[in-house]
Symmetry: C2
Subunit: 140 residues, 2 copies
């Protein structure tokens, strides 16, 4: 018997390595994993606020706002200067942002596919279910 390292350690190791490989894959596009996550969520929920964007990518709204400023300067996202109602500023992808995201997604998908190629379909599903239950167990 081989004294498996604890799941917490394996989780950290897998996440670290995945992030490293994704960053490598995204480097030619001048994108970080965080920026990719942001663009990805923006495509799924156009007009979302920075605070909601932050929650969806596990960051603070402060960090998300400074990241959005960078993406704005690069012309990948767009948002109005003032809100029409409330304080939330609805952000959207630009055409260039969509193009960058498409290119990035292809590269990221390749990495994720490589990671999961070691698992069967049922093992993949079991992994997703187990991680989901871990998240639930750790609370909101």
């Amino acid at each position: 018997m081989s004294n498996q390292p604890p799941v917490g350690y394996l989780l950290k190791q897998a996440q670290s390595l995945l992030r490293l490989r994704m960053d490598e894959a995204l480097k030619p596009l001048q994108l970080t994993v965080s920026q990719y996550s942001c663009l990805h969520l923006l495509r799924r929920e156009p007009g979302i606020s920075a605070a909601a964007l932050a929650r969806g990518t596990f960051m603070t709204r402060q960090s998300m706002n400074s990241m959005l400023q960078l993406l704005l300067d690069r012309g990948l996202v767009d948002r109005p200067d003032h809100a029409e109602s409330g304080r939330a500023l609805p952000t959207e992808l630009t055409s260039a942002g969509r193009d960058s995201l498409d290119a990035a997604e292809a590269r990221v998908d390749e990495v994720e596919h490589r990671m999961l190629s070691a698992l069967s379909r049922s093992e993949n599903d079991a992994l997703a279910r187990a991680l989901t239950r871990c998240v639930i167990a750790l609370g909101t």
Copy 2:
């Protein structure tokens, strides 16, 4: 059918939440998760070099050395000023470091146990195996 989020996203979510809960648990001890990982590895491999310590905790040796300097100042670890042979400076836990680690481990174990309480023994093992295979698939 419920359109499961991709494993990469779940991995990030689980790791983010686990780290958050661990940091909360360690806050009363004035320790971060990274520092805990460092102390933990030092107990398992006394006299290890900072570079090896960095590899085992998925950081750079530069970051590890500045973290070690903090732990040195707090008296939790100890290492010689010059190497007896080569350049590597063998680091060890102090008595106070062992005490801190023991207290920290109890708190961290509680968090990890809470996370894994949602899984059966066999599901836990399957999760560990799946993560290990993911790490291998992503290369060294």
